[in-house]
Symmetry: C2
Subunit: 217 residues, 2 copies
DNA sequence: TGTAATTCTTAACATAGGTCAAGTAGATTA
DNA sequence: TAATCTACTTGACCTATGTTAAGAATTACA
């Protein structure tokens, strides 16, 4: 695959991630958020204060659910430190993971969030995780108070959509071994923090298949 | 599949399509566009004029290319009447269709459009097609002249992203026959206008497999 | 520290869907 | 009207991946 194999980074759709924040103070996590906003749009000092007050810092323990099926997803979540997965459960009880997100990434069920309808998904913490959250009402208000945020989210969703289409093409037309190899290359840190069972599901295969792929290398 | 089978409409990701325009005058296609904008955001009469002047009405004949690989995609296209497909070609020469769009839908290569980098894709007319187009420069300017457009596109991409993730889940975890049946239910018009070869590719299978699925029914 | 739970691997077998090759039926063109 | 094309189908065979079941290695916990 000529162009697909050149960059499989979309395999994680890790929207909004651009640099490491080791130099930042650990206890001012909101500043990471502002940094990302300011990458794509202008944020005045005034606006910065408003934004920081709109997001609530939260914590969740490993293996706890942030969202369960049939609940409305009331928040947009920005992971400052930790790891989450979102998945659905089919009628035979099988779990299908479609998102794994780590530090400095957004996670939510956008469909439920924007429609106020019950979610079909679960969101679960894979590690003890610190995150920021904002409710739909507060976000709508924020779009009015800080109009340039609309631009940030327009660009965020635009990129997320493009990445998702690439991942779709790879899933349809690339063999699982290629998807695995490129993921290994683009996201080695993932393999240190996330069990292979989950990575297999994310890639659209069974853990047994992933095991075979890894053996062949 | 409990929730997926309840609505496969995302299989077409026909973002922005909400109603039929039979009642509209055929020769004022731009008004369809305004109608869609005004569904999600407020458009003043003033803004309407600016928008209408920013989009150029165009026409392309069946089988002609709107975009070819390695060209930069300079426009966002809104199909007012007709049908297009976008696809890429793998190193063995195989074509893989990932979008089929008909009346009142957007089509483009967003990645190339926003990055100004050469596209990996083709966009081809499957019918004689009337469409509107806007360049990146003009759109950036329009975001400034009509800020509420940023909101429209934020919502458009947000929905497109959600649909794309659902299509990804269906592709990974649902059998091809289910995807076919639901597409037939949700988009029967597609089968009147688009050859099965293309629909097969869109569903991620070969024409032979689609033929077998259709036979079994 | 021992037991249970997770995580990962392996092997035998099953199956959906791909590949190749041929053939039919309409539509298009000479 | 014959000759091509294009769209679609069919059949034989193949392969990647799923399924089931078992076991090893690691981690958590009582």
């Amino acid at each position: 695959m000529v162009f697909i194999s050149s960059n499989f980074s979309f395999l994680f759709c890790q929207i909004g991630k651009f640099c490491i924040f080791d130099h930042m103070e650990q206890n001012r996590p909101n500043h990471k958020l502002i940094y990302y906003f300011s990458k794509w749009t202008d944020i005045s000092e005034e606006a910065e204060k408003i934004i920081l007050s709109a997001f609530e810092p939260q914590f969740i323990k490993k293996k706890k659910d942030l969202l369960v099926v049939n609940d409305v997803c009331n928040y947009l979540y920005f992971i400052t430190d930790g790891c989450m997965r979102s998945y659905y459960v089919d009628e035979k009880g099988g779990e299908h993971i479609f998102q794994i997100r780590m530090d400095n990434n957004w996670i939510s069920d956008l469909e439920s969030f924007f429609s106020n309808r019950p979610s079909h998904y679960y969101i679960e913490a894979l590690e003890n995780t610190h995150y920021l959250r904002i409710s739909k009402e507060r976000l709508e208000q924020l779009y009015i108070e800080v109009p340039s945020l609309e631009r940030y989210f327009r660009i965020l969703f635009q990129k997320a959509y493009v990445n998702s289409l690439k991942r779709l093409n790879a899933t349809m037309w690339e063999p699982a071994s290629d998807r695995y190899n490129e993921m290994l290359k683009e996201h080695p840190e993932m393999f240190q923090r996330v069990p292979l069972v989950y990575i297999a599901s994310y890639l659209g295969i069974t853990p047994e298949s992933l095991s075979r792929i890894r053996k062949k290398k």
